[in-house]
């Protein structure tokens, strides 16, 4: 099953299970969503549960907050993560903080799904990776699945969660395929997954770069280097134990992500490891991430600003050298 179908499957099952689940967003009805995640849902659930909206990101996210506060479980599709700048206020000042500010009187069970990343020539306003912003907000949870099965299981868990969840997809993952359990499938938030076992170094990654890291690990194996690939899956809450126990085993760590390096979530991981597992490290914790530039349009330029498989291989080799 494709990644986008797996997401659609989770939505369909949760909407069947719970009438309070609704979907809101742009182009999600007849068109089925910019990446065909909601394809077929309009026909099944009708326009009151698949609510196609005008282009009003702040209003839509805010309406989801209000709906979540009063008993619905809305799932918002924000077409591109780059548009988050229009809706941050409702997400950060309201959704994330309502429970705390109200002394526990409220809960805000909403999901904001969106997608980011490069790879389709969409240039600087349609290709960002902004997970670090959301992880820096107390009150949000942040989920970034790399595989179709995790996409389904984590979206299910996110919809059932009583807190606001930012669910981040990657535009190049939608047409990746994988085995997906049929029927209900739940992957709990906050659990990392060791996607490949190894002993020589740990590669920590999330979202699409897990796949690139796995490719790199396969190449490294040819050269006799056994890389362990830890897929975080959920950035908040973070599975600190999984990271640290892998690093304590391999003694070397490479953190790989697509977002720009400066203040990326990789800094959180690398400094966490440096703080908590300093004496276990045989080499400096290393980050491999995007260059500090907006994303360029031209194909060859776009590929030059985010880590590719060979960059991962090279960095890993330097680390174990």
């Amino acid at each position: 099953m494709f990644y986008n179908e797996a997401l659609g499957d989770a939505l369909r099952l949760e909407m069947e299970r719970d009438p309070r689940v609704i979907v809101m967003g742009e182009d999600i009805a007849e068109h089925g969503g910019a990446f065909q995640v909601t394809a077929g849902l309009l026909e099944k659930f009708g326009p009151t549960r698949i609510r196609q909206t005008p282009i009003s990101e702040l209003g839509i996210v805010g309406a989801a907050v209000g709906a979540a506060l009063t008993g619905l479980r809305p799932v918002v599709e924000l077409m591109y993560i780059d548009f988050a700048g229009l809706a941050m206020d409702q997400l950060v000042n309201q959704a994330a903080q309502n429970r705390f500010m109200f002394g526990g009187q409220a809960r805000v069970p909403m999901v904001m799904r969106t997608q980011g990343g490069t790879g389709r020539g969409n240039a600087a306003q349609h290709s960002k990776s902004l997970e670090a912003w959301f992880t820096h907000v107390a009150g949000l949870k942040v989920v970034m699945p790399a595989t179709p099965a995790d996409a389904k299981g984590l979206l299910t868990a996110s919809i059932r969660d009583d807190d606001p969840v930012v669910f981040l997809e990657h535009k190049l993952l939608y047409r990746t395929k994988g085995e997906v359990p049929t029927g209900g499938h739940l992957v709990p938030l906050g659990k990392a997954d060791v996607k490949r076992v190894g002993t020589d170094l740990t590669i920590v990654s999330w979202s699409r770069h897990v796949l690139l890291s796995l490719e790199a690990a396969a190449k490294l194996a040819n050269d006799g280097i056994a890389a362990e690939v830890v897929d975080l899956r959920t950035l908040v809450p973070l599975d600190t134990d999984a990271i640290l126990s892998s690093v304590r085993k391999t003694h070397r760590v490479l953190v790989v992500h697509e977002a720009i390096k400066r203040s990326g979530f990789g800094g959180e991981i690398a400094s966490l490891i440096a703080e908590e597992a300093f004496d276990d490290l045989d080499a400096p914790p290393k980050r491999l991430a995007g260059l500090e530039t907006p994303i360029p349009y031209a194909k060859h330029l776009e590929a030059s600003v985010v880590p590719q498989v060979d960059d991962i291989v090279k960095a890993a080799k330097e680390l174990v050298a």
Binding site: I22, A64, G66, L69, G71, Q90, N93, M101, F102, Q105
Partner: protein, 320 residues
């Protein structure tokens, strides 16, 4: 207007006036900190509108939120306790004046973001529509907030989806130091409703009877499924924007004179007596009751324990 309604409205207005005066004193004494924004002068708006609301109807409020909260029948003790940072406060001392919420009465919270409540009320109205109930949502906000993009987006969405929400714009003549005529290129803010094809109604926000009447019609309309509306109530902010505002942007007459001239409570007393709905003495008795009740509420707050330490992640996350 019948005697009971008139006296109920008067009592709640007085309760708000008293709360604002009393919390100002507590602020001066250093017992309340942060910032407080007085609703004095605008009582008729919250009270006139909320009289039509049930406990299961929702409101969103603003930084100037005490009045809405009281009009929506909040417990005064818990309000004072919140201002005093006590564990018994509505938000367990975590929110303070700018975030008091009372979800048991449908108050989805004061809001520190100007215009922040508007999309939220719209979403609450969506819940009512989606679940097929006859609940309504009211969003109170200031003239300044009407220039936020979120108002535009929300009004459009609500009109498209015929949501049961009433947008109540409280024109108190200022957005902080900006006079309303320097914030708007038009005189009649209610005209903006036409851009969304919804009713726009102007009322004298100093006269609780007018507010009561106009909002009743709009709320009933929303309950019947006829969609959103825009109520613009013109009034006057008696105090500075916040406690301590030096008010450099106002004339002496505006600061001293206007407060005397435009007072919904003085007005209410006048017509209640003139219409023979009650005597001055009866109104004085209500005032006295309000004072007693307030004193008990403050005492409750002052006797309450300080807010308990922050617990993480429990104070922040519901599922963990």
């Amino acid at each position: 207007m019948d005697r009971k309604t008139a006296l109920d409205l008067y009592r709640v207005m007085r309760r708000i006036r008293d709360f604002e005066e009393r919390s100002t004193v507590l602020f001066g004494e250093g017992k309340v900190w942060g910032t407080i924004h007085s609703y004095t002068g605008e009582e008729a708006i919250a009270v006139g509108v909320s009289a039509h609301l049930r406990d299961d109807d929702w409101i969103t409020s603003t930084h100037r939120g005490h009045g809405h909260c009281i009009a929506k029948r909040a417990d005064l003790g818990k309000m004072y306790a919140e201002l005093l940072g006590r564990e018994t406060g509505y938000c367990r001392g975590r929110g303070g004046s700018m975030h008091i919420a009372d979800t048991s009465k449908g108050n989805l919270g004061a809001n520190g973001i100007v215009g922040g409540g508007i999309p939220i009320a719209t979403g609450a109205a969506l819940t009512a529509k989606q679940l097929g109930t006859d609940q309504v949502a009211v969003s109170f906000f200031g003239d300044g907030a009407a220039n936020q993009g979120g108002f535009h987006e929300s009004a459009n969405l609500a009109a498209l989806w015929k949501l049961p929400v009433i947008y109540v714009c409280e024109v108190n003549q200022y957005a902080e130091s900006l006079p309303v005529e320097r914030g708007f290129p038009i005189k009649d803010i209610e005209k903006r409703a036409e851009g969304y094809g919804i009713p726009g109604v102007r009322v004298n926000g100093l006269d609780v009877r007018e507010v009561y009447e106009a909002s009743g019609t709009l709320i009933e309309r929303a309950r019947r499924g006829e969609g959103p509306s825009f109520l613009v109530a013109y009034a006057y902010r008696h105090e500075g924007h916040y406690y301590g505002d030096p008010r450099k942007y106002q004339t002496k007459d505006q600061i001293e004179g206007w407060k005397q001239k435009y007072d919904p409570l003085v007005d209410a007393r006048r017509w209640i007596v003139a219409d023979k709905l009650a005597t001055e003495a009866e109104l004085d008795a209500i005032d006295a009751e309000v004072i007693e009740e307030a004193k008990r509420a403050v005492a409750f707050a002052e006797e309450s324990p300080l807010a308990s330490p922050i617990t993480l992640p429990g104070d922040v996350y519901a599922s963990h």
